[in-house]
């Protein structure tokens, strides 16, 4: 072994002339691995990964957390998060999470799923897991399109929105209506905290992080299912630049999927 002193990334960073400790406002959380993200430039997945790992680091719960990765763009989530993780079959993440939390009730289990995974093929698992009130956090990334399979219609695709399988725009007479599954699960007695957030600008990123923090606190208190929808972008499949895609989120997605808490715990309401 080489006996030379190895400096941590943080030490090296702080030793650079331009940086002084008191000015440090941004660094990579230690719970995020060094693996390069495979996501397209401008995609929201990287931000949400970071938020989750920041919260896990700040709350010092790395040894308590078990994540469940989806099928879809985030299928490799376990490559980036330095925590124990299981990769689930398409749509089955909340069933897998149920299996984990039931045998390890003192751990903090979350699933990370896209709109196809959670609101199409996995609708039954999602509804029933929420209805049982499993003590898990469900992170639901809604970018209104199937990203991994390159841009087909999702259950959450907006009316009129063009995808590879709705090339003339989504016609609800043919394909049915967008499924607001977050509104649906908010009605179920098993869910404790249901909120819709976005990561299209700095302010919303901060709010999304707060929501994730709250959710993990509720899991620690064994309150029941926490469900965080995060309205996100898909520059590649929307065929937009990252900036344009965030503008689309702001102007088109958010009026349809308004941000805010859909279900707030009673004790917090007071």
């Amino acid at each position: 072994m080489d006996e030379t002193i190895v400096k941590t990334e943080e030490q090296e960073f702080l030793e650079e002339d331009i940086c002084v400790a008191e000015n440090l406002v941004y660094r990579k959380p230690k719970t995020l691995t060094d693996t390069d993200l495979h996501y397209c430039p401008g995609c929201g997945h990287g931000i949400v990964h970071r938020l989750l790992m920041e919260v896990i680091e700040e709350m010092d719960i790395q040894d308590k957390v078990i994540g469940v990765a989806p099928v879809g763009c985030a299928v490799f989530a376990y490559n980036y998060m330095d925590i124990d993780m299981q990769e689930a079959a398409h749509g089955r993440a909340t069933a897998v999470a149920t299996g984990i939390i039931r045998v390890l009730p003192d751990k903090l289990v979350f699933t990370y799923q896209g709109d196809g995974d959670l609101a199409a093929i996995g609708t039954a698992e999602t509804i029933h897991t929420c209805n049982r009130g499993e003590n898990i956090l469900i992170v639901f990334i809604n970018n209104a399109v199937y990203g991994m399979t390159s841009g087909q219609m999702a259950p959450t695709t907006l009316p009129g929105m063009k995808t590879t399988t709705t090339p003339f725009g989504r016609d609800v007479k043919i394909t049915g209506y967008p499924l607001k599954i977050t509104d649906l699960v908010a009605q179920l007695p098993g869910t404790y905290y249901v909120t819709r957030q976005a990561v299209n600008n700095a302010g919303n990123v901060r709010k999304a992080k707060k929501a994730i923090q709250k959710a993990f606190q509720y899991l620690q208190q064994k309150k029941g299912t926490c469900f965080i929808e995060i309205v996100s972008n898909c520059p590649s499949n929307w065929k937009m630049t990252p900036v344009e895609s965030n503008k689309f989120v702001e102007e088109v997605m958010l009026p349809f999927y308004p941000l805010g808490d859909l279900k707030v715990p009673k004790e917090v309401q007071k």
């Binding site: 957390v65 469940v68 299981q86 990769e87 079959a89 089955r92 069933a95 897998v96 299996g99 698992e125």
Partner: protein
Amino acid sequence: MKGNEALAEAAIRAGCDAYFGYPITPQSEVLEYLSREAYNRTGMVVLQAESEVASINMIYGAAGAGKRAMTSSSSPGISLMQEGISYIAAAELPCLIVNVNRGGPGLGTIQPSQGDYFQATKGGGHGDYKLIVLAPSSVQEMADFVRLGFDLADKYRNPVMILADGAIGQMMEKVELFEQQPKGGTIPKPWATTGKTKDRERNIITSLHIDPKIMEQINLRLQAKYREIEEKEVRYESYMIDDAEYILTGYGLGARICKKVVEIGREKGYKLGLIRPITLFPFPKKAYADLATKIKGILDVEMNSGQMVEDVRLSVEGKVRVEFYGRMGGIIPTPEEVLEHFEKTFLKGE
């Protein structure tokens, strides 16, 4: 005890940590029995899932968390579980899956059948994988194979299936139960996802390997494991084969019928013997191959259209005549009709 109840009781005693399942005839007693007996005795988790699809994925989660997990179902339900079973085999998670066969295809009938042999032994889901398949032929074995199944699953990090049929699940026989075992088994599972501690790297349970070179290596490793299982875990029972001229063969309830045929055939002066595979995978190829040059014929009896008979024929490599007799749709063959078929086929040369 009823077969299904003996199996459920054995699950508690084998130190099972969690059962996830969905009701389907003829095995619903497993979920019912565990719902009233398990939690209060050992703290075993018992949960009725919303579907077979959900229940097998709950097994995936619990097994990945390092616990002894089990599900049970019957034929149409097992078909729904095949997606999850493929993932579990690929992720090398130990667990126990019980299939109490009913007649198919489709919704079929609730009567006993052995129509799922191919599905159980040849890989019912996508990809190249194998389950270790145990075929009980008595209520006693319904209980014993639960403990054996969990032990084999833990040893090889592989799903194990108990392939029974509706008759074995529903019949009542005396059964001697083993003592309560420690929960979770005794084999350490350092690979399980239990929360990353500072003293180890993170544990990942996955079946995804995009790079074909890595995927092939994973497949080769799985196949090497299956070969090792074939070498070390073959189990079968033989009965009166030493002087036998003809061998009857079958598994589960089929083997019990064959045993009776051997007995009544011997009374008539026919030199009959029996081979009963206990493990359907690994299949006892050598037991058949060793007999092939010493006997005049094999009659395979199953409650299907002829599934295991293909493995029997492969085992003897054409060195001896192999015939088949089967009934389907929930009909159980009688020893008399099997003996008549034997006489017609082998003695009268029809």
